[in-house]
């Protein structure tokens, strides 16, 4: 176990080095200058001021030196301050990442709760009306963009019914869980829709393959009920690729909920990341990237460990 953790940590460090270096190079390659964003277009005309700021921020240093400096600070836990707002990057992340993580987590859980029964039903009734109608629904869910779903949900639950707020975010720490969920449920549902469609397709196709297995026929010949066979014999062997995709999509959601965060005015990390990219705020981009990449690696490590829980053949003696 210690060996496994050590190798995972080594992999995490390697991933972080690669990801931060690539992010740093990408942002360096982008045209435009953070100084423009800091000073505004008027002030840029004053070359002296510009030169002073560039020197202060170390922007004139060679690329590798800048990356090395950032890396040195990051290793001591100092992710720096935003060029634009002067806000501490670590503070930004600790405030915003939990919001996005909660949204992503809720979306994945809601998607799974719906997708597993739908996928199992589709496989069990393959080719029958239950299958074709759920497949059609899933197809529709897959082809509607998140933000359209978001707008529809706002119209229905906020404008027409007035049950839930249309925007804003209540923090658990200050407003409590109920108030928090009131603001989280709509954006999470909008995100869950696509995930649900992807997951249920996966469960259906894996389940169809599993139901062809000899051990399913053997279980049937023992006189077990279909329900028992589906849930206690077929579901587990059918869930390995689902787990892989859940891990990948969870990671992707951490950086990919921008539009929904924007639509619902949620102070998440994605929103901040997009702003930082537009402003060439490399320090903020780097800091957020580190956290998202770490989350990715951690989530996928957890998924790897879960494989062994689901399939005993993967466990090592």
């Amino acid at each position: 176990m210690g060996k496994v953790i050590a190798s995972r940590l080594a992999r995490l460090v390697a991933t972080l080095l690669a990801v931060t270096f690539l992010t740093f190079s990408m942002t360096a390659l982008l045209p435009g200058d953070p100084v423009n964003a800091i000073l505004g277009v008027e002030a840029v005309r004053d070359p002296e001021v510009v030169a002073k700021i560039r020197a202060d921020l170390g922007l004139d240093d060679p690329f590798f030196l800048r990356y090395a400096n950032w890396l040195k600070d990051a290793a001591t836990g100092d992710l720096g301050q935003s060029y634009i707002t002067d806000q501490d990057v670590l503070t930004t992340i600790t405030q915003r990442l939990p919001v996005t993580a909660q949204l992503a987590f809720m979306a994945i859980v809601m998607a799974l709760i719906l997708a597993i029964p739908i996928g199992v039903l589709g496989a069990y009734k393959q080719g029958k009306w239950q299958d074709s109608s759920t497949s059609a629904g899933v197809q529709i869910a897959l082809s509607i963009p998140n933000f359209i779903v978001g707008i529809f949900l706002i119209w229905l639950f906020s404008v027409r019914l007035g049950w839930l707020p249309a925007s804003n975010w209540n923090r658990i720490t200050t407003e409590g869980l109920i108030q928090n969920l009131k603001t989280a449920i709509l954006p999470a549902s909008a995100l869950a829709m696509t995930q649900m469609a992807i997951f249920s397709r996966l469960v259906r196709s894996d389940m169809i393959a599993t139901l062809q297995e000899d051990y399913i026929l053997a279980a049937r010949s023992k006189g077990l009920s279909d329900r028992f066979i589906l849930l206690r014999h077929a579901l587990r062997p059918s869930s390995l690729s689902l787990m892989t995709i859940v891990g990948i999509n969870f990671g992707a959601l951490l950086g990919g909920t921008v539009i929904i965060e924007y639509l619902f005015a949620i102070p998440g990390v994605g929103f901040r990341l997009i702003n930082a990219i537009f402003q060439r705020d490399i320090i903020v981009i780097q800091g957020i990237t580190v956290f998202i990449a770490t989350a990715y690696v951690v989530i996928n490590t957890i998924v790897d460990l879960l494989y062994a829980v689901v399939d005993p053949r993967i466990r090592k003696g």
């Binding site: 297995e213 053997a218 010949s221 023992k222 006189g223 077990l224 028992f228 014999h233 062997p237 399939d311």
Partner: protein, 387 residues
């Protein structure tokens, strides 16, 4: 009590089986015993494309309480589909099964799956061919042994586990209690098949289907598994349908044998009678294809020439005609009926041993038909050995 065989033991085992049939007591075959299973005119067709694939095509037989029926045929002869059709566990949506299957007086064909479920596991059970795939790899042995006990017999978990330990002891698995926590991949193939037998026996079924139960196993284990099945069958007075491609397997372990070809029974007789006077050329070819230790070294294996026919496009007349050493024009025109000669039934125009068959064989051999020439040579060498 178990003879251990070396790797070369397969042929030895087979010849022992065959040569030993005269000595086998057939007392368990009681022609007067009550009929447990009665199959009449059973047909299972798979509808693929335009023509139905006739996997089982008009099969009828009875199995008495506590007796064993052997069903013998090549791969693709329909024997696996037959046993699954009798139980009603065919899963393919494109299959239709017609005819009649009476189990203890109740008709099974036409029953819904929900109704059949009360027969499955409890009244009739099946041991599958490959223990590597017929146990769920992600479910512990203990649950696979107890889940149907709990469902059918309303046992508590503890009660069912007691029974499971007993079952594992019966099938000679050491440390049965510890084994309950194992997953299938932690066991060898022979052990897994023992577990499968224990699972099948759990609810004390009256009728056991064993569908090539040893084909996937190491030859050294095959014998043990077959003996275990026979022993449990006798002890429990359970009826058994033993499906196999190996005449050697059924020779000593059955009361009656049905030879199946292209979805039809071509010969059916009490075991002793079948071996002492084979009537169907296909049965004879199967018998000849078993290698014997009495033969000199490097004797060519005698395979049946040709392949089983396409079940979606069966020829007119006898399905075996193309591979038959005795084939005559009538065989390609008229399909022979299953005719009964006492308890011995066969479907052939020129049954083995008849004068017409002898004439046909020498004519065909002279005309250069390969299977007839090798059959004629075989007969000559057999005659040489026995004289």
């Amino acid at each position: 009590m178990y003879i251990s065989y070396t790797i070369s033991g397969r042929s030895e085992m087979v010849t022992r089986g065959i040569s030993g049939f005269e000595g086998v007591s057939l007392s368990s075959h009681d022609s007067g015993s009550a009929t447990l299973l009665s199959v009449r005119n059973l047909r299972t067709y798979f509808h693929v494309g335009g023509h139905p694939v006739k996997a089982v095509d008009g099969v009828s037989f009875d199995v008495g309480v506590g007796t064993t029926l052997g069903i013998v045929g090549e791969s693709g002869s329909g024997k696996t589909v037959l046993s699954r059709s009798i139980m009603g566990i065919n899963t393919a949506g494109n299959a239709t099964t017609t005819g009649s299957v009476q189990y203890n007086g109740s008709e099974l064909i036409g029953k819904t799956r929900r109704e059949l479920r009360h027969f499955w596991g409890e009244e009739m059970a099946m041991v599958f061919q490959d223990p590597m795939t017929s146990l769920n790899p992600v479910v512990r042995i203990g649950r696979q042994l107890t889940e149907h006990l709990r469902a059918h017999k309303n046992m508590s978990k503890a009660e069912a586990e007691e029974v499971a330990i007993q079952l594992l002891t019966w099938v000679r698995i050491p440390e049965p209690k510890q084994r309950l926590a194992n997953y299938p991949h932690q066991m060898s193939g022979g052990m897994r098949q023992r577990v499968c037998i224990a699972i099948a026996l759990a609810c004390s079924p009256q009728l056991l289907f064993a569908d090539e139960p040893t084909t996937a196993l190491d030859v050294t284990v095959q014998h043990q598994i077959l003996n275990l099945l026979s022993q449990q069958q006798v002890e429990r007075k359970m009826a058994m349908v033993l499906v196999t491609h190996d005449l050697g397997v059924v020779a000593t372990r059955t009361d009656e044998i049905a030879v199946i070809y292209a979805g039809k029974i071509v010969e059916k007789a009490p075991t002793a009678s079948l071996f002492s006077e084979m009537r169907h050329p296909y049965t004879q070819s199967l018998f000849w294809s078993i290698p014997k230790t009495s033969e000199p070294k490097h004797t060519r294996l005698s395979a049946i020439i040709g392949r089983p026919p396409n079940l979606a496009a069966l020829p007119v007349g006898c399905s075996f005609a193309d591979r038959c050493p005795y084939v005559q024009p009538i065989c390609r025109e008229v399909e022979p009926d299953l005719q009964s000669d006492g308890g011995h039934a066969f479907a052939c125009h020129l049954p083995v041993g008849s004068a017409a068959a002898d004439v046909a064989l020498s004519e065909n051999a002279a005309a250069g038909l390969a299977q007839s020439q090798s059959a004629a040579a075989r007969r000559e060498s057999n005659a040489g050995v026995s004289s």
